[in-house]
Structures are given as C-alpha cells and as structure tokens.
C-alpha cells in the first residue's frame, strides 16, 4: 500500500512565523504535490515536483516555497505566515509514468493567529 505521511495533523502558528510542513512517501514516487483545501474553494494546487530538486508552481504559489532534496520528501515552507494561510494542507504523490492517480497524506490543519 502507498503510504504518504505528513509531519503534523494540527499546527498553530503566529502571524509572521516561518512554517515548515513536511511530507514523506514510501513508494519511490517521482511526482509530489502540495495542495490547500478550503470550504467552497475545493482543492487548489500550490506547488508540485516532478523530480528531486525540480519544482513547478501551481495555481496559488504566492506566499509559499518548496524544497525537494530527496525523492521521498517534499517540504512546503510558509516564509512569513499570515492569517489567510489558515487552511487544510494536503500532500500527495504519484508515480511518474503509467497511472496518474495521486495518493494523499492525512493532511495538516494549520491555524495562523
């Protein structure tokens, strides 16, 4: 079974703090993704990575950066957290070829106060 884990289930941070969200997958997947999910707005892609050290902006990259130094790990960084970044953050991974389904982690509920 594919397993995607995220570093925290719940996180509370203050405005202006630097926030790190980590995601690890154990299936040797090439592609990894970070989404945020908000009521009424659905799933929105922040960044994705199709290989180690490679990244592409998604639909809403402003205020975020990412790092992928190892194949199994993809980190999302909020350089200076703001209240409008309060959200559910979801990490996903998939194989690079063949099937395209993404497998998700349990999510991190981030609250910025």
């Amino acid at each position: 079974d594919v397993k995607v884990t995220q570093s925290s289930r719940y996180l509370v941070k203050r405005t202006g703090e630097k926030v790190f969200l980590e995601c690890v997958q154990d299936m040797d997947h090439e592609n990894m993704f970070w989404y945020r999910q908000d009521p009424g707005l659905g799933l929105r892609l922040i960044y994705f990575s199709y290989d180690v050290k490679m990244k592409e902006k998604g639909d809403i990259p402003e205020g975020y950066s990412v790092s992928r130094e190892k194949k199994e790990r993809f980190s999302l960084i909020l350089e200076s957290a703001s209240t409008n970044q309060t959200s559910m953050y979801l990490c996903a991974s998939r194989t690079g070829g063949g099937s395209y389904e993404q497998y998700f982690g349990p999510g991190t509920r981030l609250t910025v106060t």
């Binding site: 659905g42 799933l43 099937s99 395209y100 389904e101 993404q102 349990p106 999510g107």
Partner: protein, 110 residues
C-alpha cells in the same frame, strides 16, 4: 478551458436507497478520470481510475462508469459508513495537474 463539475452538491439518502453521483468534464484530451472519497478532516482516499469511455470499475457498493463527457458513481444499497464527500478529478493530456471538481457530500441516514 478544462473544467470539472460535480452534481449534486449534497445528497441525503436513506440506508439502502441507491443513487448516482455525477461528474461532467470538458478537457482537451483525457488521460484519466479519478474518484476519491474524503472523510471530514482527512485526506482524500483513492477509489477508482477510468481511462476510456465505456469503462466500468467496482468496489463493494460503488460502481464508477465513464462516457465521453461524464462519469457516474453509482452507490447500491448504501450504508451510513458510506457517508463522505466524493471528489472527481481528471488528468488532461496537457500537463501534470489534476482538474478537481468541488465534490458531492453524501449523507446516508440509518
């Protein structure tokens, strides 16, 4: 523009009452259509991939079907534990990103 629309937004059924959820899509070439189940406060759980019109997949009380313009998720004799939000997404030919629908919230009353 690539787009995915799910209907209805919410569906309330009695236990045992079969029904269908709809996912209609417009994309420039379809590599795959995906169904996911999401429980409150959790990440989406992958259910099915459909690749071409006429394809069907089944899992327990769920059956997914695909035509050239839409997909249906049929739920037969549902149980309360089937209550969840069901998400549909499509993979266009053009890029890495999935195009997501807004989801259908399914509530099964005992």
């Amino acid at each position: 523009e690539d787009q995915v629309t799910q209907s209805p937004e919410a569906l309330r059924l009695q236990e045992g009452e079969s029904s269908s959820l709809n996912c209609s899509y417009t994309v420039s070439g379809l590599r795959g259509l995906f169904w996911y189940r999401q429980d409150p406060g959790k990440g989406p759980e992958f259910l099915f991939t459909l690749y071409s019109a006429g394809e069907e997949k089944e899992k327990e009380r769920l059956k997914a079907t695909l035509t050239k313009k839409e997909s249906f998720l049929h739920i037969t004799a549902p149980k309360p534990e089937d209550s969840a939000t069901y998400l549909c997404a499509v993979q266009p030919d053009s890029n890495y990103q999935l195009i997501w629908g807004a989801g259908t919230k399914l509530i099964i009353k005992p």
